[in-house]
């Protein structure tokens, strides 16, 4: 228990250890972790969302969209990082590439399933009202698909935050994972403090994304409106 108390003190001291030279502050490392993860998620969304949404809109490529997701689940993040290090060396480039490799598939799969699954009667009605293909996508399919699309982004985000910290094991420094990988300098309380912070960070990211998802979901889709932590936190992994 004493270690946990010391860990909280370590967080309170912003990651400094008394009597030792200054270390990177926890605020800095947390922001850096968010930056690395944010770039990864941002690029992954930019790549994957248009592909998934478009494939869903034209109802094609289900085999690719769904199997990409199946193979993704089998990719161990440390292995992806390690193989990347062999080709690209240690550095931000490799980390971001690994993050994108891990984050793109669930976003594609979920976006595809979400848009593809919009009821055909609704799309037909929209077409009958004279909407063009683009308008149908923007005004009908996307709003209805948002919950599932966002579930994919959240699943990916969870993976990305987790992998960002694991990247420290492959020699890339800059994230909160550094502290865990450097027990000799930080000792057990420091490592524990970083672990607590990483856990809280991941939970915070999940809750923020859940709130964004809720804000973006059209009012008509919020059935009953009663959501609790269970439905808010549990990421939906689309099954195929």
């Amino acid at each position: 228990m004493n270690n946990f108390v010391e860990a909280i003190r370590f967080i309170g001291r912003n990651g400094q250890i008394p009597g030792e030279p200054p270390l990177p502050t926890l605020v800095h490392l947390t922001l850096e972790t968010l930056k690395i993860a944010g770039i990864g998620i941002g690029l992954a969304v930019a790549i994957a969302l248009p592909i998934g949404v478009w494939l869903g809109h034209i109802h094609r490529g289900s085999f690719v969209a769904i199997n990409v997701g199946n193979i993704w689940r089998a990719l161990p993040s440390l292995a992806v990082l390690a193989i990347g290090v062999a080709f690209l060396g240690i550095g931000l480039r490799n980390v971001e590439l690994a993050l994108i490799v891990l984050a793109v598939p669930p976003i594609i799969t979920n976006a595809y399933v979400a848009v593809d699954g919009v009821e055909p009667e609704i799309v037909d009605a929209a077409r009958g009202m004279g909407l063009t293909g683009w308008e149908i996508l923007r005004d009908v399919e996307l709003p209805l698909a948002i919950p599932l699309i966002f579930a994919g982004i959240r699943t990916a985000a969870l993976f990305v935050v987790s992998t960002t910290t694991i990247a420290a094991l492959t020699g890339y420094s800059g994230s909160l994972g550094d502290i865990i990988n450097n027990e000799t300098s930080y000792h057990l309380p420091g490592v524990l403090g970083a672990a607590i912070l990483i856990a809280l960070l991941a939970l915070a990211v999940e809750l923020v994304l859940a709130a964004v998802q809720r804000a973006l979901t059209p009012r008509g889709l919020k059935l009953g409106g009663r959501e609790d932590l269970a439905t808010v936190l549990a990421p939906v992994v689309t099954e195929a």
Partner: protein, 245 residues
């Protein structure tokens, strides 16, 4: 252990003088010679450890989640608290969870710590899939079972669980590949499994061959396990294929 630590140079042994280690010394992308020399001493044992770690975690996770799901199936109020706790466990990044468990008395740097963390990642997926599978059994089917004179237990064992099998196995697939993935990180705590050669290769000034082979083995193991479970599902639920025909 002390003898082993004192003896021998740190791997990879590049050797001295002989030209046969040229590939290793140049640290080329892939040295087949290194793989064959280290297969039986490094790679194969790591693979076996990885499989054992995974099997233990998935089995324990499966038993726990099945029990929880079966109770929650009968007592609905249990569903929410179980989902909240397991979602929080699922959300905690693996690296953090391993470190959080380590200082707890009786855990430390051990297989127990690794397994407890790995099991905790399977619970959400297995629990949710099992419960969803059971809930989706049509009411008419349950009525028919009751009409044939089956009691609740018999109906559960002979009708409801078999019909929920596709969902249960889908959960097992996700849980298994998740555990295989996280077990590489567990090497940090446990010093076994395919994470060990990966971390060794990094500390040896990025020895590429070992990174590619160990990383590739982890990926292939996950793909193979996933494929095996798909086959198991086909064998166990022959009726699901009738629709496709």
């Amino acid at each position: 252990m002390i003898v082993a630590a004192a003896g021998g140079p740190v791997i990879p042994t590049f050797g001295s003088g002989s030209g046969s280690f040229a590939c290793e010394r140049a640290n080329r992308l892939f040295c087949p010679g290194w793989v064959s020399r280290n297969w039986s001493s490094v790679l194969w044992p790591a693979l076996v450890q990885h499989i054992v770690l995974t099997l233990i975690a998935v089995s324990i996770g499966f038993v726990l989640s099945m029990a929880l799901a079966l109770v929650a199936y009968r007592r609905r109020w249990l569903e929410r608290p179980v989902l909240i706790v397991t979602s929080i466990l699922y959300t905690i990044p693996s690296l953090a969870l391993f470190e959080l468990l380590e200082p707890i008395p009786g855990f430390g740097l051990s297989r127990t710590t690794a397994e407890v963390a790995l099991v905790s990642y399977t619970l959400l997926i297995l629990f949710r899939n099992t419960l969803t599978g059971l809930r989706e059994v049509p009411a008419e089917v349950r009525d028919a079972a009751a009409g044939m004179g089956m009691g609740p237990t018999q109906s559960l064992l002979r009708v409801e669980i078999p019909l929920a099998l596709p969902a249960i196995i889908a959960g097992l697939r996700i849980a298994t590949v998740t555990v295989i993935s996280l077990a590489t990180v567990a090497s940090l705590i446990d010093n076994e499994g395919l994470g060990v050669p990966i971390l060794t290769a990094i500390s040896n000034e990025v020895f590429k061959t070992e990174l590619i082979v160990a990383g590739g083995m982890a990926v292939l193991l996950a793909l193979a396990a996933d494929a095996l479970l798909v086959l198991a599902q086909r064998a166990l639920t022959p009726w699901t294929r009738v629709k496709a025909a």
